[in-house]
């Protein structure tokens, strides 16, 4: 697939603070790409630069091979679905969707056909004459999507479009958006901080932090092969342990040598080791590769969330079997459950569960008790 949009060395600062730092990214035609990251990581700014609402301080933006860095928003073949819908309150549902067509002086007949087609797509037939302020959040978002798609843009930008909806509706809309994207076959650039949303909808995920791209990949790549501690921690739960590469496919952590599947590191190189909580098996202490003491157990429905103290480092384990708190258990880890990452500036900041959940509560309870 051809590159449709390309960002080359894009930088943007607000009041001297860098929000995006020389970003390079290309987006392919008909792709569902998600910019994922915590708030303040620069994802919305990136989207606004593509949409034409902000101009980059440095760098170029290309659309279909043509530079559009200085093209104003209304001349770009890109439409946006905003977080707060941004429907026009003085127009009804029909007129809101017809708005971009009227600007192009499309005939009344054609407008009618196109708007009806859009209403069908977003399942809002019969709502034509309603005032937009009488609609629910989900309905308003559908109108916004219909309005953005009616003039057949090449790219649809979506800025946390489901952020204001409740969980159930959000799940439905996720499916609907994916279906719409596949049906009309255009590029969607989606911004969210919800990793689950990103994993379930995207073809490609761009993980961002501190104005920089941390990793670009398919959802499975991002989850299974995170590039650094930030990505590993942001996407799902993970134990991130300091390790040392002894040789190819052999890593030492918590004084135990594990077999793994990664190679290409120098001998004795310090690394970050990611082990997902669901990949750790609980076994009897004598059969375990490592042993530790259970400090807390939380029932989560599908599984128990167990925090285990192994040589002073708190691991999170997800297991369907109950383990008693204070018990000593052994853990067993398959070689392909171990993922090795190079050290980065995020090393040591994430992936330790010592300050996690229950203990924090206990601490703050103790603090509160002292005050009385």
């Amino acid at each position: 697939m051809a590159k449709l949009i390309e960002l080359k060395g894009i930088s943007k600062s607000y009041d001297g603070e860098k929000v995006i730092d020389s970003m390079n990214l290309y987006i392919r035609d008909k792709e569902f790409i998600t910019l994922l990251g915590p708030s303040g990581c620069g994802k919305t700014t990136t989207l606004r630069i593509i949409g034409g609402f902000e101009t980059a301080d440095e760098g170029q933006l290309y659309f279909d091979g043509v530079e559009i860095s200085d093209v104003p928003a209304h001349k770009r073949h890109v439409n946006t679905v905003f977080q707060k819908y941004a429907l026009f309150p003085h127009l009804n549902v029909y007129e809101n969707i017809a708005f971009p067509l009227r600007l192009k002086k499309v005939s009344e007949e054609e407008i009618k056909t196109k708007v009806t087609e859009m209403l069908k797509m977003v399942a809002l037939v019969g709502f034509e004459n309603k005032s937009v302020s009488t609609l629910s959040g989900g309905q308003q978002q559908r109108v916004a999507i219909a309005r953005a798609l009616v003039s057949h843009p090449r790219v649809l930008l979506l800025d946390e479009p489901l952020g204001a909806l409740d969980l159930k509706l959000r799940k439905d809309m996720q499916n609907e958006l994916k279906t719409i994207q596949q049906a009309i076959g255009i590029t969607f650039i989606y911004v969210t901080h919800d990793q689950e949303e990103a994993l379930s909808m995207s073809d490609t995920i761009v993980v961002m932090a501190d104005g920089e791209i941390q990793q670009i990949g398919t959802p499975t790549d991002i989850y299974n092969e995170p590039k650094n501690a930030f990505v590993a921690d942001f996407i799902g739960e993970s134990n991130i342990i300091d390790g040392i590469m002894l040789e190819d496919k052999k890593v030492k952590l918590a004084s135990h040598v594990f077999e793994c599947v990664d190679s290409g590191y120098e001998q004795g190189e310090p690394v970050d080791v990611v082990i997902r909580p669901e990949d750790v098996d609980v076994v009897a202490p004598e059969k375990g590769m490592l042993t530790g003491k259970v400090t807390s157990v939380t029932f989560k429905g599908v599984h128990y969330e167990i925090i285990v103290d192994i040589k002073g480092f708190k691991w999170m384990i997800q297991s369907t079997d109950y383990v008693a708190p204070e018990a000593t258990i052994g853990v067993y880890i398959e070689p392909d459950a171990i993922h090795i990452m190079k050290k980065s500036k995020y090393s040591g900041k994430f992936g330790d569960y010592s300050s996690f959940s229950d203990e924090i509560d206990q601490l703050s309870d103790a603090d509160a008790a002292e005050e009385f």
């Binding site: 949409g51 034409g52 609402f53 104003p72 928003a73 209304h74 890109v78 439409n79 946006t80 905003f82 707060k84 941004a86 429907l87 026009f88 309150p89 003085h90 708005f99 971009p100 600007l103 192009k104 302020s133 009488t134 309005r147 953005a148 003039s151």
Partner: protein, 273 residues
């Protein structure tokens, strides 16, 4: 007891406020030229009012002036409010805001005198007589003192409206001009109309500034009434005042009903959320 007292107080206040006006309205229907004797109910003074060419010209002048100055002030004021809203520098924004408020804070007499001085100088430079500038001078003066009120009424609307809908309009293919007229203006219209009504009434009853700026060639009603008080006030002035009161009252009701309706709509909107 307490309740009676408070009722009495209320009656007293409203009495002081409205009895003089009611007296004036009452005597405007008097068939006699006297404030001591009430002959019978008649429209005599109203007829005389409209038969006097001076009064009629003054009324026409006042309306032309009020409508044109309010219209121009509304256009300039709305554009200015949009401009102030779009300013990036906070210092500049605050400065411009206070500068535009000066005509509002300034005593009318000072504004009036400075305007007069200014027009005298301009007339001198252009080598025309001051009297020839009559309408234009008056128009400029009225626009000037109406402007801050229009900005004051439009700016909060624009701020409340924000950028997101304008951005959506641009995104959907509007030029910045189209985005303003098709999306922003319809949504801030209430503020624009209130600004116009305010400017209109201010211009309608302005005396002090008009007194300084005005010339013999362009007389407005307040000026005419004032010049008549130097002689004996005839009851046709009562009739005229009554008409002005009724006009202002109607405008007041109109704008109150409108803002009341809007308030209701907002409440309903809020309740749904």
């Amino acid at each position: 007891m307490k309740k009676h007292l408070s009722t009495a107080y209320l009656v007293l206040i409203f009495g002081i406020l409205y009895i003089p006006i009611l007296t004036l309205i009452f005597f405007s229907f008097n068939s006699e030229n006297s404030t001591a004797v009430f002959g019978e109910f008649s429209f005599r003074w109203y007829k005389e009012l409209f038969n006097s060419p001076d009064t009629f010209t003054a009324l026409r002048n006042t309306l032309i002036l009020a409508i044109s100055s309010a219209t121009i002030a509304t256009v300039i004021g709305t554009a200015a409010a949009e401009g102030i809203y779009k300013m990036r520098s906070k210092v500049l924004k605050a400065t411009i805001n206070s500068v535009t408020n000066i005509p509002m804070m300034n005593p009318d007499i000072v504004t009036g005198m400075s305007m007069m001085l200014f027009f005298v100088v301009v007339a001198g430079i252009l080598r025309i007589s001051y009297d020839d500038m009559g309408f234009v001078a008056m128009l400029i003066a009225h626009i000037t003192f109406c402007l801050p009120y229009v900005i004051l009424s439009v700016l909060p609307r624009i701020t409340e409206f924000g950028d997101s809908l304008s951005e959506a309009a641009l995104d959907l293919g509007c030029t910045p001009m189209q985005a303003f007229f098709k999306v922003k203006l319809p949504n801030i219209m209430h503020g624009v109309v209130s600004g116009f009504v305010m400017a209109f009434t201010l211009s309608l009853d302005d005396f002090v500034i008009s007194y300084f700026v005005g010339s013999s060639k362009f007389q407005t009603l307040p000026l005419l009434i004032y010049s008549m008080t130097k002689k004996k006030v005839t009851p046709d002035m009562y009739a005229l005042s009554t008409l002005i009161i009724i006009t202002i009252f109607a405008l007041l009701i109109f704008s109150n009903v409108r803002s009341g309706r809007e308030e209701e709509r907002r409440k309903r909107k809020a309740a749904r959320k």
